[in-house]
């Protein structure tokens, strides 16, 4: 694809006649698919795409499916329509990409960049570096230990949760690098973290072993999909809302499964 098929001349930026609308449609669809993958709500996706379509002088109708994005552009001047469907971009949830792509939509809408430049910026934003994975593992471990404290865990329980989280998150990084299915990853990580956190029961080193076990897997909870699903449901994007909710519920079920096996293996009974 040649991005210069867009309106690449600075002098022509206000002239939408020369835009290659097929390429614009493809760009907008891939842009929207990337936004969906990186955790944007449906309202944000439709607004961002809509403001860029406006500047191209076309109307955009968007179909948001669980794994695909489909956009039809219609040109009111001559009645032509353009259609493109894209699979979801292979990017993990990233609010940095979400923010940069939202800024990009404003740059296009205010004619500060044309569609050719927007395409190049889009590709660059997708490749933006992420936080170092081991730093992330450390941050998540400390966060989960703090979470344990918020539930009333003692310092020893916090230490157990930090170690259990570090081990579980390290396993997650390892399995992600080997492209293992996310559901299997969550089951394995929940199992490992819960198993390690049972040390409080086994050795009696903490007075709050139940809180340690209960908190050890919470770093796996798919919080963003849960919140996005309710946001989509409230804004009447039911299909996306339900699919995000189903995805989050499946992952929560995987956490429960991994944890249950670990707790049963260790013969732990929290409720008397």
């Amino acid at each position: 694809m040649n991005p210069n098929h867009y309106n690449s001349s600075t002098a022509d930026r206000t002239d939408t006649e020369h835009l290659n609308l097929g390429e614009v449609c493809r760009f907008l669809t891939e842009y929207a698919a990337c936004l969906l993958a990186c955790g944007a709500t449906c309202t944000r996706i439709t607004r961002n795409v809509g403001r860029m379509a406006d500047i191209a002088g076309v109307e955009a109708d968007i179909i948001i499916l669980p794994s695909h994005m489909s956009i039809t552009l219609s040109d009111p001047r001559d009645g032509r329509t353009f259609h493109y469907t894209s699979s979801l971009a292979n990017v993990p949830v990233s609010f940095n990409i979400n923010t940069q792509l939202s800024k990009l939509s404003w740059k296009v809408a205010e004619r500060r960049v044309n569609f050719a430049e927007a395409r190049q910026l889009f590709e660059r934003i997708k490749e933006a570096p992420r936080i170092n994975q081991w730093t992330l593992a450390l941050l998540v471990s400390v966060a989960n230990a703090s979470f344990c404290r918020l539930f009333g865990g003692d310092p020893m329980a916090m230490a157990i949760v930090a170690v259990a989280t570090m081990a579980g998150y390290s396993l997650k990084l390892l399995l992600l690098s080997r492209h293992v299915d996310i559901k299997l990853i969550v089951i394995a990580c929940a199992f490992l973290s819960a198993l390690i956190s049972c040390v409080g029961y086994v050795t009696g080193c903490t007075s709050t072993p139940d809180i340690a076990v209960g908190t050890s897997v919470l770093y796996l909870i798919p919080g963003i999909p849960y919140i996005n699903s309710v946001s989509d449901l409230l804004s009447s994007h039911y299909l996306s809302g339900y699919s995000r909710l189903a995805h989050a519920l499946v992952l929560t079920g995987c956490i429960a499964l991994g944890m249950t096996v670990a707790v049963m293996l260790m013969h732990i009974q929290v409720i008397p």
Partner: protein, 161 residues
């Protein structure tokens, strides 16, 4: 003095949890401090409402999340980020994880219960913990979404330079 210390501790640990969970969703670097701030304010708000005003966990979570959402909407245009970038991670320390865990435990025990009375006891625990967990999560999510929906124009133009 002890009460104040309790409040500050609550805020501190919520802020640390907020930053750590925010890191998973890879926010812009500038957003981290606001995630910490909002997580602390939200959690302290909930703690104070429950401790001093006698709010139940569900309504205190709703109010705490509303406060987080409101602050996020007004911080967002200053930092040029969508409000979700701060408000979602700031909510995560409020997740009622222990209730979820106890629901799961009670479920396992109910399946292996001997007799109606024992089953009834575990089933009550499933209902109590499960419903609390469900409504706390719903309260949290709806509470922080209300300000975004109330101030749509601000929320959806916050990334404009």
């Amino acid at each position: 003095m002890n009460v104040l210390l309790g409040i500050l501790q609550d805020g501190l640990f919520a802020a640390i949890a907020g930053v750590g969970f925010a890191a998973i969703s890879n926010p812009p670097r500038v957003a981290y401090k606001y995630c910490a701030l909002l997580a602390a304010i939200g959690h302290i708000g909930r703690y104070c409402l429950m401790t001093f005003a006698g709010f139940s966990l569900v309504f205190a979570s709703l109010a705490g999340a509303f406060l987080v959402g409101l602050l996020a909407v007004f911080i967002a245009p200053r930092v040029k980020c969508p409000p979700e970038v701060f408000s979602y991670p700031a909510l995560l320390p409020m997740i009622p994880g222990l209730y979820a865990y106890r629901t799961l435990q009670a479920f396992m025990l109910a399946l292996s219960a001997n007799g109606e009375e024992e089953f009834g006891h575990y089933f009550y625990l499933i209902e109590f913990n499960g419903l609390t967990c469900l409504f706390v999560v719903l309260g949290m999510v709806v509470g922080q979404l209300i300000p975004i929906m109330m101030f749509k124009r601000v929320a959806y133009t916050s990334t404009r330079d």
